[in-house]
């Protein structure tokens, strides 16, 4: 019975709209048209290609970072860790703006010359870098957690028995880490696979993932048929990935009771070099793009534009001041505080919805029956549904209703729910049934059992899940989904509005708004970090 509310929610707001749009647009015969096959082949190939490369690059940075965070303690560790997590919550508009303001023309043209790069190659590299920027935190968290849980006694015994470092790695560490490695790889791959905004904003011509091609076919070139076909393909792949994912996650939880190896400061010279180099690399890679926006939002760069020389370079708060001015007297003007309040309000509702739905689902999945095991991957499916097609499905299913602002947190909940369930599930599974039974035998009411046994264990996991849902909503995943009421713009919407017209003030205000979002996001991440449930909360 516990899975009924979440399943009902998914049925109404996910499967029903999906069915509606497929019912309208899907035609199996179109699979066999030669032109369609060519497009499907080309787009799928590129999608896999870029996702594979992005995943490899993410691991190249993520694995050493996971070792860094799980083995060593050093000054500024929690801040650096939070820093790697911030990009995951940022909307693509902001990340693209950050990359663009960092890899400006002067900088990149010198790279062009050194490596003799074509602009297209450069754009492709930019996509890969942006994906790495987004997803490294997944590897850090999942692999880092697994590393931290390795029982140090096993390694010690193997050493005593004469195994060298390589053998320990191959026969003990790798097999124990394998589920974490594979599941984080799958998750990273899934995010890269459905990438949309990054590709559209940084990629330029000829870089179309499935999601981008669906957008083009559904809304620009009107070929809903092909769009439906492409999104069916994307859904099938996502289903395969999520089935693999939930299978591996279940395996991870059957591991022996975690023991945490304490972190320690680097001792040997080698370790010191490793920690220093990794900190430096992470600092440069994550801080530079992030800091470029606040810096840009405070800098006046008007001086060398046009034919005037009187205006000077320098620091300015103009862009922030201008945020409070409705220059055009526009009906749709929104003060920055109001945009922040809208964003925070929708985020709070998303937390409420996804916790209310995720809690019973996680309960059910903590001790799953066979039927519930089958349902498990379905929960992850919304992550791979094309936002464009879902938007059209919503339209067909709910008509005028979708103009209601309540649909914004509902759409965000669809995306946040899988994460919330994954965060709650291990905590719930760890509550010993005997404690509940003992409390009940001693005469505690069911509520009192929940209050005294479950709640203390659950509260921290719930807080971390809540913070996660909160940031998913702040970052506006799947924002293209809906018909919007212009009176309720969120921060990402406000940024996009500023960037849609020419003018120095517009650009400056966009970076100022992005800075505001950056601050809100970083604060949320720091709260997540503080509340994580004994370091074992999965994603």
């Amino acid at each position: 019975m516990l899975w009924i509310p979440p399943l009902l929610f998914l049925t109404i707001f996910f499967f029903f709209p999906l069915f509606k749009i497929f019912n309208l647009a899907f035609d199996l015969r179109s699979v066999f048209e030669r032109d369609n096959l060519q497009i499907i082949y080309r787009v799928s190939l590129f999608t896999f290609y870029q996702a594979t490369l992005s995943t490899l690059l993410t691991f190249a940075l993520g694995l050493p970072s996971a070792v860094l965070f799980s083995k060593f303690s050093f000054k500024g560790k929690s801040l650096l860790r939070a820093l790697t997590a911030v990009p995951f919550m940022l909307p693509a508009v902001v990340v693209a703006a950050a990359f663009n303001s960092l890899f400006s023309y002067k900088f990149s043209s010198s790279i062009f010359q050194v490596f003799n790069l074509q602009p297209a190659t450069f754009n492709f590299l930019l996509i890969l870098l942006a994906h790495t920027f987004y997803n490294t935190t997944i590897v850090v968290r999942i692999v880092g957690n697994a590393l931290a849980q390795l029982d140090p006694r096993m390694e010690a015994s193997a050493r005593v028995l004469g195994a060298d470092g390589f053998r320990v790695g191959r026969e003990i560490i790798f097999p124990l880490l394998r589920p974490a490695l594979i599941s984080s790889a799958l998750l990273v791959f899934m995010f890269d696979f459905t990438s949309f905004g990054v590709i559209l904003l940084l990629g330029g011509l000829n870089f179309a993932t499935l999601e981008v091609e669906i957008y083009v076919r559904a809304l620009q070139l009107p070929n809903l048929n092909l769009a439906a076909l492409l999104s069916a393909i994307q859904l099938i792949f996502t289903l395969i990935f999520s089935m693999l994912y939930s299978r591996l996650i279940n395996k991870m939880q059957t591991q022996s009771t975690p023991r945490f190896a304490p972190t320690r400061p680097p001792k040997t010279v080698k370790e010191k070099i490793f920690v220093g180099a990794m900190c430096g690399a992470l600092f440069v890679f994550f801080l530079l793009p992030l800091i470029s926006l606040p810096v840009r939002s405070l800098t006046r760069l008007e001086a060398d534009r046009g034919q005037r020389g009187a205006v000077q370079y320098g620091l300015t708060a103009d862009y922030y001041r201008e945020l409070f001015v409705n220059r055009r007297g526009s009906l749709f003007y929104v003060p920055p505080v109001q945009a922040a309040v809208n964003s925070l309000g929708f985020a709070a509702l998303t937390v409420l919805f996804s916790l209310a739905l995720g809690h019973p689902a996680a309960y059910a999945l903590a001790k799953p029956t066979r039927f519930e095991k089958i349902l498990d991957p379905l929960l992850t499916l919304p992550l791979g549904a094309s936002a464009v097609m879902m938007g059209l499905g919503f339209l067909l299913s709910f008509g005028r209703l979708i103009a209601s602002p309540i649909f914004i947190p509902i759409a965000h909940t669809l995306v946040a729910l899988p994460f919330v369930i994954r965060a709650l599930q291990p905590a719930l599974a760890s509550v010993p049934e005997r404690l509940r039974q003992a409390a009940a035998t001693l005469g505690a009411s069911p509520f009192r059992v929940w209050q005294t046994v479950d709640f203390p264990i659950l509260s921290r996991a719930a807080a971390s899940a809540a913070a996660f849902a909160f940031t998913v909503s702040l970052g506006e995943f799947g924002a293209t989904l809906l018909i919007t009421r212009p009176e309720y713009p969120t921060i990402p919407v406000a940024i996009a509005r500023f960037l849609s017209q020419p003018g120095g003030l517009n650009y400056g205000q966009a970076t100022a708004m992005a800075t505001l979002l950056l601050i809100l996001t970083t604060l949320s991440i720091l709260i997540i970090e503080k509340m994580r449930f004994n370091n074992v909360g999965e994603w």
Binding site: I12, G204, E302, L331, P405, N506, Y507
Partner: protein, 344 residues
């Protein structure tokens, strides 16, 4: 269990409908995301008609139109604004609009009234042209190109950034201008343009703010496909209004494409009388004079006065590219597809 399901659904629906607009005197208008209007102007209409106007935004121009088409049996709104001449026939073929011969059309020149049946009524227009960085051309003593052919000259190698016509509306407009000028030879022209290192990016935002050298992004290209009104926006949205715009448009004959935006009364809408009044209002001087500074477009009503920043800094194409909307409708997708293939 079935009961619980029904209960939940009805609860949900009542919750949702509580938030949805539903009073009888409400007029709903669906537009694209770039739409903007002054608060006081809307208030004038609301006060005069004891009505409340609710605006909905449905994504970019293409997305908003497609949503209107998909929901034509149970329309989301009473009035739709924002289908332009590159999308017009899709709206007309889908039959989403009801004809309305507004008396206010008398002030609108015939060249804008593309639909003889008055299902789609012109509201505003804008010219998509190449913008250039005035300072760059002055400092490098470079002549401003005066024709499409000029852009192929070696001195303009790598200096132009354009948008992908498959996803960007100014990108499409610019491609249509080349199609109008070169006919079928437009693909060869684009191949030569590519050989001269013209840069193609997906969206206007990237082209203007990342690639264009005269924007705040300080990019590499001193020429960008944008609007003839963009220089006025650069002045209006400058921290300290300059006497000269930092950018200007190339408005040479045939090099610009004129986008005309239309509004129409949606079929099966609930409020025909009020919708008619709103269309009249959109064509009135009050609304038309408010358009330029809100959306940086030109009013179609010839009696409307332009703001100073427009008369001083915005340019208008003298002889925009000529392509009928029927011709665009018939070939649009094939042209884009061929262009995409040619630019690989």
């Amino acid at each position: 269990m079935k009961k619980i399901f029904l209960l939940l659904i009805s609860l949900l629906i009542s919750l949702l409908s509580a938030c949805a607009p539903k009073t009888p005197t409400t007029l709903t208008v669906i537009t694209h995301d770039s739409f903007s209007v002054s608060e006081e102007v809307v208030k004038i209409f609301e006060d005069a008609n004891q009505a409340k106007v609710v605006f909905l935004q449905g994504g970019d121009a293409g997305a908003a139109l497609n949503k209107a088409v998909l929901s034509k049996d149970a329309p989301l709104a009473d009035v739709m604004f924002g289908a332009d001449n590159t999308f017009l026939s899709r709206a007309l073929d889908a039959g989403i609009f009801e004809p309305y011969d507004s008396p206010a059309l008398k002030d609108v020149p015939a060249e804008f009234q593309l639909d003889g049946e008055h299902r789609a009524l012109p509201i505003d227009y804008g010219d998509v042209c190449i913008n250039y960085d005035v300072k760059y051309f002055a400092e490098n003593r470079l002549a401003v190109p005066a024709s499409f052919e000029d852009l192929l000259k070696p001195e303009y190698n790598g200096l132009l950034v354009v948008e992908n016509p498959a996803v960007s509306s100014p990108g499409l407009a610019f491609m249509l201008a080349t199609r109008a000028y070169f006919g079928d030879g437009y693909l060869d022209y684009w191949k030569s343009l590519k050989a001269n290192d013209a840069v193609v990016v997906d969206g206007w935002e990237t082209a203007y703010y990342t690639n264009f050298s005269a924007s705040s992004g300080h990019g590499a290209q001193p020429m960008v496909v944008s609007y003839a009104s963009s220089p006025a926006a650069e002045v209006f949205f400058a921290e300290e209004p300059p006497s000269e715009a930092p950018t200007a448009s190339i408005v040479a004959p045939n090099m610009c494409f004129r986008q005309i935006e239309f509004a129409g009364i949606l079929k099966n809408g609930k409020n025909r009388a009020l919708a008619e009044k709103f269309i009249d209002f959109m064509l009135s001087r009050t609304f038309q004079e408010d358009l330029p500074l809100n959306m940086f477009v030109y009013p179609v009503n010839q009696t409307a006065k332009l703001p100073d920043v427009f008369t001083q800094h915005a340019q208008s194409a003298t002889q925009p590219a000529a392509l009928s909307y029927e011709e665009i409708a018939a070939n649009r997708d094939a042209w884009i597809e061929a262009w995409t293939q040619a630019m690989k």
